[in-house]
Amino acid sequence: MARYLAHRVGQAILVVWLAYTLVFLAVQLLPSDPVTIFLTADSAVDQAAIDTMKSQYGYDQPLLVQYLNQLVGVLSGNFGYSLASGQSVLDRISGVAGSTVALAGSAFIVAGLMAVIVVAAATLTRSAILRRVLVNLPPLLAAVPVFWLGLVLLDLLSIRWGVMSLFPDGSVLSLAIPVLVLAAVVSAPLAQVLLKSMNQVYDQPFIDVLRAKGASRSWIFFRHALKNAAGPALTVMGITVGTLFAGSVITETVFARSGLGSVVLTAVTTQDVPLVQGLVLLTASVFVVVNLVVDLLYPLLDPRILKSNGQGAPRALTA
């Protein structure tokens, strides 16, 4: 177990470091340095002002020195300063991150619940028609863009029926609708994968043995099948963190919520490179941490994982 843990944590750190380095290299591919790009975006600026700012931000140093300085900065919690506001990147992000974490986090959990509910209903229903509808729901939702769903709901609820304010006012509905929109879209691939692995689980003979023990359909589903089928869905859940982040940026914009969405939007449009770098690092870290948690949960779901880590396939140990 300890080896497995060390292995996975080491991998996670490596991935974050590689992501950071790739972003650094990508910035170097820009036609000019970040300060010049930022300052020449709107008006003509004299070269002296550019040079002063460049030396302030350290962009006049040789590449390797820049890289190492930034890396040391990141390790000590200093993610650089925004070119637009001069505020520290960390402050700029942490000031609004709470709202996004609340949105994305609730959507993540609601998405998981929605997937389980859809799959449970599709598996346990005795009505062939209902089952067919439920089975086709996830592919349909997967094809719906987040912004479209958001705009349609906004149009219906705020403009036509007037039950919800156009801007967040702290009401239950104005919090719940963005969460549901995001969750619906994120839950679609989850439900698809869960349904597929559920079907495979139900093809296995142990399901018949459970029925022969006298277990009811819901007993079998919730006490046995779900745990067996959860693995692939959990993996997909880890991967959807990317979709979740992109989706929350769009949702925040559609529903005029403050949060990382607006920061991302301004950082990209004003070409505030240090801020973009900080955001990418944050996203990569969240992605890696969530997937690390998924990897660590896996052995709890399936005891065979740890065994198969060694040489050879898991096999019978005793006669």
Binding site: P205, V209, K213, G214, S216, K227, L301, A316
Partner: protein, 563 residues
């Protein structure tokens, strides 16, 4: 095992009465009748075997009793009564109360019949939690009950096993756990669907003994399905023969053995009986044997595996040689190293020590290129034809694929060769465009053999190639293998745990145990007068004791041929 028990118990009440049962798969013009007008009565405490080849409807019949038919199947006529309860009219909820309590099930494949992510203890205790009638029990009492059950089925260290997961247990132990579950509430009726088909002979014998003992102890009636008449005659008091969905014969074991009524029963009995002798060496071959180089020759073959820091010797100093044109069988329990030996010879694994010669060429340290040459001559036919054939390819492409891999011939030449191969393995040309799932088990195995022969292999490694097939299909594939050996002069390395099959096909036999080759010799000699205790044990565990008693002539012939 013993036959002292009276054949039937007419004085006892009928427990299960099936009348006019008809079960149909599918709808409309494609519907097929799996069970047709079946009548069957089981009395309390009676052990009845249902036999027949695959597709005869035996599994469907018994599954309908416990209400576990697949979704595509439905009952179209007839009734099933358990005592006073009509099972065919019962609601799902009523059935749930019956299952596990009055009727229970021991499944076919112990490997996949336990929930892989739950502990053994929780899965046995589950039966008590599902049916919490009677006095309330504390956790400690349930635990004590589970331990008692595990002890009852002969599981050692039951306390430790409670916390283990199914993958930590061998197939035999898993089947014991499943038997413990089935007997936990002392049911009136137990249904066992091929309960030992997936197990070794030695394990099979032990499992069936436990089964029989518990059934007698608790007065449980048992219906067990098997394709192996040898097993049926050893353990049942009555045999029900099914053929094409109909019950064609239903009589006490003694009567069926003495005077089978149906031709079909006669055929089943003939295939299950140990009467046929191994193929006589063909004239002229004897001369070859001394002069020609052996097809396969291994000396001092050794291979270790390390698992979790522990070194385990899978193959230990194994030496043997197979004369060209003959069949050598490796027998032994699972885990004895038979398959590893085969994989080493095929050079799918690297040997730790020793030497392998195939048709005189030393292939012990073959390079990638040399291995490709080796596999033109030496091919594998795998145990499970279902998973050894790509389900998405038509049969034609599966058989022709090796030619494509080795870039042999033009498209037309390859098509011709595939046609030739189809003919050699007796597959109708019409199958060419079908896919594996449309074929029966026997036909799939023919495809696997045709593919192995595509490049003109002279030696085939048959790893449990017949184990997944029923007796009648086994007999057909055996005939095919024999005729291919005659016409093409093939050499077989035959790996099997089924001694019946081995004694019918092999010229020489090697017995393996724990990686070591215990003894080798001519088949008749090894089986007739085994040199080691272990071989004697294997032979004793081989089912068909009553069949052997019934056909003294053949066993006498057998003994004669040994000298």
């Amino acid at each position: 095992m013993n036959t002292s028990e009276p054949a039937t118990h007419p004085e006892r009440d009928p427990l299960l009465v099936i009348e006019g049962l008809e079960i149909v798969y599918g709808h409309g013009p494609t519907a097929t009748t799996a069970v047709n007008d079946a009548d069957l009565t089981i009395r309390r405490g009676e052990i009845v075997a249902v036999v027949g080849e695959s597709g005869s409807g035996k599994s469907t019949l018994v599954k309908s009793i416990i209400g576990l038919l697949p979704a595509a199947a439905r009952r179209t006529a007839g009734s099933v009564m358990l005592g006073d309860t009509n099972l065919t009219d019962a609601s799902e909820r009523d059935l749930e109360r019956l299952r596990g309590v009055r009727i229970s099930l021991v499944p076919q494949d112990p490997g996949a019949s336990l929930d892989p992510v739950k502990t053994i203890g929780s899965q046995v205790a589950e039966v008590f939690r599902l049916h919490p009638d009677g006095p309330r029990r504390s956790r400690a009492e349930v635990r004590a009950d589970v331990v008692r059950l595990l002890t009852l089925v002969g599981i050692d260290r039951p306390e430790e096993r409670l916390k283990q997961y199914p993958h930590e247990l061998s197939g035999g132990l898993k089947q014991r756990v499943l038997i413990a579950i089935a007997f936990s509430l002392q049911p009136d009726l137990l249904i066992a669907d091929e309960p030992t088909s997936a197990l070794d002979v030695t394990v099979q014998a032990r499992i069936l003994d436990i089964f029989e003992r518990l059934a007698r102890e608790f007065g449980t009636a048992v219906i067990f399905v098997t394709h192996d008449l040898a097993v049926a005659t050893d353990h049942a008091v009555r045999i029900v023969v099914m053929h094409r969905g109909r019950i064609v014969e239903d009589r006490p074991v003694g009567d069926i053995l003495a005077a089978p009524e149906q031709d079909y029963t006669v055929r089943l009995l003939r295939e299950a009986s140990p009467h046929r002798l191994p193929a006589e060496p063909r004239p002229g071959l004897e001369l070859d044997r001394t002069s020609a180089t052996p097809a396969i020759e291994v000396t001092g073959l050794t291979r270790d595996f390390s698992r979790a820091g522990e070194v385990h010797r899978a193959v230990d100093d194994v030496s043997f040689s197979i004369a060209a044109g003959t069949t050598f069988a490796l027998v032994g329990e699972s885990g004895s190293g038979k398959s590893t030996t085969a994989r080493l010879i095929l050079r799918l694994l690297d040997p730790g020590a020793g030497q392998i010669r195939v048709h005189g060429d030393d292939v012990t340290t073959a390079t990638r290129r040399q291995k490709r040459e080796l596999w033109r001559n030496l091919q594998l036919v795998y145990q499970n034809p279902d998973s050894a054939l790509d389900p998405r390819l038509p049969i034609r492409d599966i058989v022709g694929e090796p030619l494509l891999n080795y870039r042999i011939g033009s498209r037309a030449e390859r098509a011709r060769r595939v046609g030739e191969l189809f003919e050699q393995v007796d597959l109708a040309p019409g199958f060419a465009s079908k896919r594996p799932h449309e074929l029966s088990g026997g036909q799939r195995q023919r495809v696997a053999i045709a593919r192995a022969l595509a490049l003109g292999a002279r030696t085939l490694v048959l790893d449990e190639a017949l184990s997944a097939l029923d007796v009648l299909t086994q007999a057909q594939i055996l005939d095919l293998l024999r005729s291919l050996q005659d016409s093409l002069g093939l050499t077989y390395l035959f790996i099997s745990h089924d001694l019946h099959v081995v004694e019918r096909i092999s010229t020489t036999v090697g017995v393996m145990r724990q990686g070591k080759l215990l003894e080798t010799g001519a088949t008749a000699q090894v089986f007739g007068s085994p040199a080691t205790e272990y071989t004697q044990l294997l032979l004793a565990a081989n089912p068909g004791h009553r069949l052997r008693q019934q056909t003294p002539l053949s066993s006498r012939l057998h003994a004669l041929s040994a000298t």
